[in-house]
Structures are given as C-alpha cells and as structure tokens.
Point group: C2
Chain length 319, copies 2
C-alpha cells in the first residue's frame, strides 16, 4: 500500500494530505439548512439516536463532498478524523463510511485517523473494522475499509502486531503515533529513560522492528506519526526510522512551518506526507481566503491546498 | 458518577464488571440463524455496508441481550468493548448503541471500553460522543452516552483534559490506561526513567493530578486501568493513586487470580472493580460450565458471574 501512496504523491507532486476533520464551527450554516430540508422531505427518521444528529451528520457529508470534489485532483490522500463523525453517533458513522467510500471512488487514498490500539483479538477487530475484512461464517466483508489507519502504541507489540498482520493480508498500512504534534506530547513521549533517550525514540526503534517485515519497495507499510511542531525531533526520527513513511500533522494552523518540514523527508525527496486540516477545510474563515465567503468554502479550500503544495515544494527545492 | 458506581457495588456486594466483548467465536450459531431469519422477514436491507454485517450485528445484539437479562441483578456494571462492534461497521455500531441503552434501562452502569485519546477539540469530540452531549445549534444531544470511558494517555494532558471537562459537565467518569494487562504492556509502560521509576508510575502521578479536581466523595471521577496480571505493580499503583478507582482487567481467562486482586483494593474495601469478559460470556465453552450447552449460554454466564463474585469476596474477606 505504501507504494500506491508514493505513486500518487509522484503523480500529484504533492506530499500532502487534506484532513477531513469537520468541526461544526467550520460548517457554513446553509449546509445545515439544506440538510434539514432534505431530511424532512425524505421523511426518514432515525431510530438510533436523534434526528438532530442526522441533520448534523448530513451537513457534514455535504461539506465533505464539496471539499473532496474541489481538491481530489490536487492531492494523493485525505485523512478523515473519526472523532468528528463518532460524536454524531450512528448517523455520524454513516457519514464517515460514505466519506471513505466517496474518497476512494475519486481515487484518493484514505488514511483513517482513528488512533485505535488495544490488545490481541480486540486490536484485530479494530484492524478488520478499518483496514481488513471481518470474517462472518464463510464470507469476509469489509466494514469501514480505509487504506491506512493511525495506531496508538501505548499497549506495546500485543496492540500493534494484529494491525500489521491484517495489513499484510489486505495490503494496507498503518502510521504509529511516535511524537505527536500537541503541546503536551512531551509529558510521556519525551520522558528520558535510564540511558538518556526519550521514550519516543524507543517507540521509533520498535516501529523500525515492526516495519522490517512489511517492506513494500524502499518503504514499509508500517509508518509513523511525528508532528511538524517538533522539527528537531523530526530530524532524529527521520534517521532512526529510515524506511518508515512519516505522517506529519501540525503544519499551518498548529504552527508547523514549511522550512521545518524538510527534516521529515529523506534525500530521495520521499518519506513524509504532511497533513493540514483546519488550514484547508476552514480556509474561508481565515483572513487570507475570506474573499471567497462561506458560499465558496470549497473554492477557498482548493486555493489553500494549492498554496500549501507550493509552500512545501518551495521548501523542499531549497533544501 | 463514581459514587453512583460505589453505591451499586455496595448494593450488589460485587466489585465486578461483566465485559461485553462478543467475539464471534463465542456466539452460538443458532443466534446467527435466528438473526438471519428475523432480518429476512423484516425485508430490511442496509445500504451502509453489507447485509452480512447486519446479520452478525443482530446476532451479537441477541447474544448480549440474553447475557444482560441473565446477569443484570448480580453486578453493578458492564463494559462493552467497542472494537467488537466497530468491526461490523454501521450495523455493529447500532448494536453497541442498543447495548448501552439496554444496559442502562436495566440499571447497569456502562463503562465504554473505547480507549480513545487524541488532542484538543478531537478529544472533546470523543468525550461528547461517549460521555457527554454534542452541541448542534441550540440543542445538545447525546450520541452513545456511556457512563464511563477508558482513555489512552500517550498524548498527555491535551488528550485527557477534554474528557475530564466533559465528565464534569455531565457527571461522568474515565479510567485512564496506566498499566495494561497484556504480556507486552511493559515495552513502553515499564521503561525505567532517568530517576529509576517506570513510565507507568509517572502516568499514575499525573492521573492523581488530573483527578484531584474531580473528586466525588472519597474517590475521583478520574480512575485508572491496571491489569490483574501485574499484582505487584497493582500494590504500588494502589498507593500512588489513593483516590482513583482502579478498573482491573485480566482476571480469569488472562490469568489474574482472586488472591492477587486484593492489592488493587483500599482498606475501605473499595477502590477497585474487576472485569471479566470471556470468563463469563463464553463460560459455556469451558470445561467447568460445559453442562449448560450452547442453548443455555446465558445461564452459564450467570453461574460464572456468581462464582467470580464468590471468588473475589472470599479473597477480600481473607485479606
């Protein structure tokens, strides 16, 4: 699967992921009105929870669809953040499912930002839910069926290996959280161990081990997450995990700058893919793209995507 | 919320949680047949995924309902493991939702074993999905609405505090993963830091800090998870987090013994609640309860629950 992602990165010339994290604050009110009218017309009431949830989930779906239609030819991949869907219950999960399916129809690679992690058969169930197929009698059936998923390593190999096994079975991939982009990521991840190394470096070592048996060309289907907000750590992690693709959140809205991103790439110009969520999907709410207005939020997202790609290309060419 | 759990523990005399982790291997085939016939009669086809998923999810629902009806008067709480539902896609999430609702109707406290954890508004979305209500326009609406959720601490305070805030708003609680029950939990959790302490002790210290502002009587609404398979660590964690309720997985099928559980309790006889999943819901597949047969799987679960309660009471009385 990582080679499929690399091909798409080469085709688009954009090591960029659009994060589909539709926080309700970003969704233009008109989409709620449209969603409401459409659901009223269909007289579809949802026994699982509340009609309000269905309206919100429908508005999120409409928002996503316009964003996807507007950016799908520019970027190789999208990263829906499942929490933003799960909060709307069953209706929200339907929107997540529709979003994954639609993105794949448009040729996008889908990174499910699910940050799951448990042990043994439970991790296997998550892996089958998001990447593989679940076995039911003599059939095996896909559930959410993303291409990649993010995975939390706190429970150790017992939690991650079932994901790796499912990835091998279905040619999928994972990105393991190593050094996250948030301000408090250091509380546990940066703790210095007895031999003076931070915990995230130990995680990186084990990501390397986990990935060694999942090579797909020069890179492994076991990648890592490392935040753009920590470029020095990124430089170290790049060397510690030479074959891991690094998914880099934290560019833009969270403070990561293009010149810092260079640290996450290998000399072959590959090895990293940079995510922006708010900076793209909520571009119309920022000064720079305000002229588009809320009616043209998807055009603003396209402009912001183009600018981000150019920004990163510029930084990579300079290095 | 922790006082509500404590009251129910006192009423039942059982510091016991039944884990609703319906691995398909445990579900008697007759329930699949019933589910299939029932769905065929209703002519309800599910556009979101596959009918096979709906059959499996319906079988899981029927299995859960019989288990719940059989044990609800014996125990204070249940712990559905969401991965086992998520693997069946939308249909599975409906079964999760129904299970949570039904358990609450039966007076059970529901611990959503979701092990979520992200940052900022994303963690808030998870917290609203599972514990709070999501704000939609002028309304706020519950989604899955468990009473407690398990939370992964790897991302630090940014990931956990939004859960704590939502818990305060809706009188709910969390159990933070500190030392998990699985064999490889030590890979990162036991790493010794520069000052010679394992990482899980640092997590325990911060759980204490997080919990200090969420006291509800003598205990905090911020609890911890520590595995029965590590009783020595349990003894230390009990002292490090005097006000945290400890959710203890790993009893029974995973190898934790009743005499080891004493370490997780305080001198007031409170402070811990012990989970068993397979040992109860799949009791009918074990030698001890085989006489019930698959038709009477729920009766076997009741017998196994009674035996577990007696086992733990015995160990606590001896100590």
């Amino acid at each position: 699967m990582i080679q499929k992602l690399i091909s798409r990165i080469r085709e688009t010339g954009a090591p960029v992921v659009v994060g589909l994290d539709p926080n309700m604050k970003f969704i233009p009110p008109m989409l709620f009105d449209d969603a409401k009218q459409s659901l009223e017309r269909s007289e579809n009431t949802d026994p699982f929870g509340d009609d309000e949830l269905s309206v919100a989930a429908e508005a999120v779906w409409r928002f996503n669809k316009e964003i996807i239609d507007s950016v799908y030819d520019l970027v190789p991949a999208v990263k829906p953040q499942i929490a933003m869907y799960e909060q709307f219950g069953i209706a929200g999960m339907k929107t997540f499912w529709r979003t994954v399916r639609y993105c794949k129809e448009k040729g996008l690679i889908v990174i499910g930002d699910v940050k799951r992690g448990d042990i043994g058969s439970t991790s296997e169930a998550y892996a089958r839910a998001h990447l593989g197929r679940v076995k039911i009698g003599n059939h095996d059936v896909p559930a959410f069926n993303e291409d990649f998923a993010t995975v939390n390593p706190y429970l150790g190999s017992d939690g991650v290996k079932p994901f790796i096994d499912v990835c091998k079975e279905y040619d999928k991939g994972i990105f393991v959280l190593v050094k996250t982009s948030n301000p408090s990521s250091g509380e546990f991840q940066d703790v210095l161990t007895k031999d003076g190394r931070p915990v995230y470096e130990l995680v990186a070592d084990i990501v390397n081990e986990w990935g060694a048996d999942s090579m797909d060309g020069d890179y492994s289907n076991v990648g890592a997450v490392a935040g753009a907000t920590y470029p020095e750590q990124g430089r170290i992690l790049r060397k510690l995990m030479p074959h891991a693709y690094i998914l880099v959140p934290g560019y833009g809205a969270q403070g990561g700058k293009a010149e810092d991103l260079v640290n996450f790439f290998n000399e072959d110009g590959l090895g990293a893919i940079v995510n922006s969520s708010r900076g793209i999907i909520a571009a119309y709410t920022t000064e720079k793209y305000r002229k588009y207005g809320q009616e043209r939020f998807a055009e603003a997202a396209r402009a912001a995507t183009r600018d981000m790609i150019e920004d990163i290309r510029g930084a990579l060419n300079k290095s």
